[in-house]
């Protein structure tokens, strides 16, 4: 009789990172692996957000930026009018 092996329970492990073009945030210069200067933890606590122009920033950074602009905000990277990607 031949030995037969059957896999029936698999505990897999996967790690996620942000899928951004750049490695660092164009506003705070911190790595996307890390968090913005106001946060302590990367990941869900300090999420990334994409603009219509496809540039990504820390959500906290771009919100500060948008709020600091007197008129219409532009993307700090490509100067196009800033729109959150839908």
């Amino acid at each position: 009789m031949k030995v037969k092996i059957l896999l029936f329970w698999w505990h897999a492990v996967a790690a996620w990172t942000w899928d951004a073009q750049d490695e660092t945030c164009g506003i705070c210069r911190m790595a996307f692996d890390g968090c913005c200067p106001d946060c302590k933890l990367p990941g869900d606590d300090c999420p990334l957000i994409w603009g219509a122009c496809n540039h990504a920033f820390h959500l906290h950074c771009i919100l500060k930026w948008v709020n600091s602009q007197t008129s219409q905000a532009h993307c700090p990277m490509c100067r196009r009018e800033w729109q959150f990607k839908g």
Partner: protein
């Protein structure tokens, strides 16, 4: 047996029997107030201790009771002068004196007095009334001196046996006291009138003492013999002989009454004691071990204390005890510590150490004890820390050591604050004696405690251990090393389901948080969040349409999704999975990314683990294995025998990792595979088959212990990553400081860095980082002063 009580009880009995005595006016009340202190010692003898002697010393017809002046009761008596001053009879003075003189003589010679007491009062009264008090006083003094001189003279040349001699002195003293008191009682009217009204005249009692003192000092042989005798007796008692303490007591009181205690007795006594204990201290320190010696000192100090309660004056206690302390302790402090401290500490001799502390406290030597403690901890602990062969036991040895020190501190050192700080400082010194390794070992010790399979440890015990380890952790200067290893092990416990208790895990995290702040534990807490969140993700995956429609059946998949920043960095490891498993991973990934856009998902296959069902000829088994082990084992479902190279080609597992994997399956305790040829190591030419004869008593079998075990590479990379991270932190700190200060001297910059950075660094390391930042044009040296840096924006 205080004097006033005795006195009043004896006078009460007198009052009824002699109430008829109205002349001379009674003065009892005034008297008992007039001479309180001088007589204290003396009354003690005559009335209480030596009632028999006292009576014997008195003439037969003059008992002490009768010698008492009349008792006035509560009535106020007034001295009334006679209406007419009586004429002075011729020869009154001489005749009256003759009567008194013969009475005084009789008293001193212990013979019956021929007159009635009243007549003697009357005689003194008469002379005083006729203004002859002064000459009466002189006559009494002269007469007393004659007798007292004779009495002291009689002691000259007496028995060479000191105790016999001292007993004679004691008797002589007690007799004279009783006799002078009797004479004073007879001449009480003189005391109350002439003596009181004339300046610079001593009371009859004081006169008696003065005469005694005078003639004692005139016959220096007697005085010297008394003092020598006393010293000799005390020495004998110190050497363990029983001595007549009452005799010592009486003679010491005699010196006090005579006012020469301190000069004639105490001074030579203290000198003698100092010499005695000086010799004894040296001798005993050589003869006995330290615990015995300390017990002896304690006993000696107690004895000297008692001596002052029993027969010396209370005032002697302080200088006497101080003398003994100086000779027995102060002089030997360092010898005691050198000879005995390590032995007491090693032996955990709580009681002896407590004795040492208490004794040292008396002579202000606690500082020496504290220093001895400090160097003991350093020396003992050094052996635990520095010996690499004992690394395995370092933490438990340190914990045990600390616990025993704490007990000693509590029970022997009375929780002395300075000693507590000393213990802490010494431990901090110890832990940081060796860089990094202690921190790593503390983390590993915790891993062992928090891992599943720690049977027999209750929750409370575990909590207690965690608290104790935390005390060691507190002393570590490079906490980042601890954090890295703790995190690595925690990750494995969580991902491989090896944690003994999630409650205990969380409790430890909150302890670390209290200790180091949330900065330190944020990411560790994030790891727990990921575990929780993964459960939800798996649940919704199971119910998703992707899972229901596309997933082949048969395998139960659950995925731990990690946020990269929280977890240790894992080197990517190649593995070619069976097609079926790739399908599972792809479907999960599709589901995940549809739920969380803007993310990348990377499989960490080296951390995956599986449960397999295996049909062996000798029975079905359930195997807990790593994903790599699974991949290897599944190859054998379709092949009888595979070479090492076959397996390597099919799985793409990295060479070293594959050898480890095969070794765990074919060379370990549980051998699911057979290796040809047999051997401990996996060689290039080896080949493998299923083990047809596999048998095991249990149904569930763990083969994946290999995953929990730390590899050398893992250890190195963990440490390297800490050092790498330290460099980033140094760079960041330099840039941060220079950005705000713009221009800074080297010295100030280094000082600020030392304040900001929380791990041990050498100035040379900082210098290197500064150079590197200059190269990368973050900074430049000032053109005028190379010791100053400018920040380049």
């Amino acid at each position: 047996m205080s004097h006033p009580n005795k006195r009043s009880s004896s006078t009460t009995t007198t009052s009824s029997s002699s109430s008829s005595l109205t002349s001379p006016p009674p003065m009892k009340k005034a008297k008992s107030h007039s001479q309180p202190d001088t007589k204290n010692g003396l009354h003690h003898h005559t009335h209480s201790d030596n009632d028999d002697d006292g009576r014997r010393a008195q003439p037969d017809n003059l008992s002490r009771k009768k010698a008492q002046p009349p008792q006035p009761g509560k009535k106020q008596f007034v001295i009334k002068p006679f209406k007419a001053k009586p004429a002075v009879p011729k020869n009154l003075e001489e005749e009256t004196w003759e009567i008194l003189k013969s009475a005084i003589c009789a008293i001193f010679l212990k013979k019956p007095v021929s007159c009635v007491l009243e007549d003697l009062y009357q005689a003194v009264y008469n002379l005083c009334v006729h203004k002859m008090g002064g000459s009466l006083y002189q006559r009494i003094e002269k007469e007393c001196e004659r007798h007292i001189a004779a009495a002291l003279q009689s002691l000259v040349g007496q028995s060479p046996d000191l105790v016999v001699f001292l007993t004679l002195v004691e008797r002589c003293w007690q007799d004279l006291c009783a006799q002078i008191l009797m004479i004073r009682d007879i001449a009480l009217y003189l005391d109350r009138t002439y003596v009181k009204q004339t300046p610079n005249v001593r009371s009859l009692w004081d006169m008696g003492l003065q005469l005694f003192r005078k003639h004692l000092s005139l016959s220096s042989e007697v005085e010297h013999k008394i003092v020598t005798g006393l010293l000799r007796m005390i020495e004998k008692e110190r050497l363990g002989e029983a001595v007549a303490r009452t005799l010592l007591n009486h003679l010491s009181k005699m010196f006090i009454a005579l006012g020469i205690y301190s000069e004639s007795f105490e001074k030579p006594f203290l000198e003698c004691s100092s010499e005695f204990y000086g010799t004894e201290g040296v001798k005993y320190m050589q003869q006995s071990d330290v615990p015995e010696y300390l017990k002896h000192v304690e006993k000696r100090l107690h004895e000297e204390h008692e001596r002052c309660l029993l027969y010396l004056d209370a005032s002697t206690r302080k200088p006497l005890v101080a003398t003994a302390e100086k000779q027995l302790l102060e002089r030997h402090i360092s010898a005691i510590l050198d000879k005995g401290f390590t032995m007491l500490m090693d032996g955990n001799r709580i009681e002896d150490l407590q004795r040492m502390y208490t004794l040292f406290l008396r002579v202000n030597a606690l500082e020496s004890l504290r220093q001895a403690l400090s160097s003991y901890i350093r020396k003992t602990g050094q052996g635990m820390i520095m010996d690499e062969e004992k690394d395995k036991d370092m933490v438990s040895s340190l914990l045990e050591f600390k616990a025993s020190l704490d007990t000693i501190w509590e029970e022997s050192f009375f929780k002395n604050e300075a000693f507590c700080i000393t213990i802490k400082d010494a431990f901090e010194y110890l832990i940081n004696l060796r860089q990094n390794r202690p921190a790593e070992l503390i983390a590993k010790f915790l891993d062992e405690k928090l891992r599943a399979g720690n049977k027999g440890t209750s929750e409370e015990e575990l909590e207690g251990t965690l608290d104790k380890v935390l005390v060691l952790f507190r002393f570590i200067q490079g906490k980042d090393v601890f954090e890295a290893f703790y995190k690595k092990d925690l990750a494995k416990r969580l991902l491989l389901g090896k944690s003994a208790s999630i409650d205990a895990e969380k409790s430890m995290i909150s302890k670390l948080k209290t200790e180091c702040g949330s900065q330190f534990t944020n990411k560790l807490e994030g790891m727990f969040k990921d575990i929780e969140l993964s459960k939800e993700i798996n649940e919704s995956f199971r119910q998703s349409s992707q899972a229901r429609t596309k997933l082949p059946s048969g395998i139960e998949l659950s995925v731990h999704v990690l946020t990269s920043g929280y977890w240790p960095t894992y080197a990517p490891m190649d593995v070619r999975l069976p097609h079926e498993l790739n399908v599972y991973q792809d479907i999960f990934k599709e589901f995940y990314l549809s739920k969380y856009s803007g993310r990348r998902l990377m499989w960490q296959n080296s951390l995956g683990h599986c449960v397999l069902k295996a049909e062996f000829p000798k029975g079905r088994k359930e195997l807990a294995v790593s994903l790599f082990q699974t991949v290897v084992l599944m190859l054998f479902n379709d092949a009888e025998k595979l070479s090492f190279q076959d397996i390597k080609d099919s799985t793409s597992i990295e060479d070293k990792e594959l050898r480890r994997t095969l070794q765990s399956l074919a060379c370990g305790k549980v051998r699911v595979l057979q290796k040809f040829p047999k051997g401990r190591d996996v060689e290039d030419d080896d080949s493998f088959t299923f083990n047809d004869t596999f048998a095991a008593p249990l149904y569930r079998i763990k083969v994946n212990a290999i995953q929990m075990k730390e590899t050398v590479e893992e250890n190195t990379s963990t440490t390297e990553r800490v050092f790498q991270d330290r460099q980033y932190q140094i760079d960041a700190a330099i840039v941060r400081i220079m950005k705000t200060r713009k221009l800074l001297s080297h010295t100030i910059l280094i000082t600020e860095l030392f304040q900001q950075l929380r791990f041990p660094i050498k100035p040379a390391d900082l210098k290197k980082r500064i150079e590197s930042l200059i190269d990368r044009e973050y900074l430049e040296r000032d053109k005028n002063n190379p010791q100053v840096y400018n920040y380049l924006a």
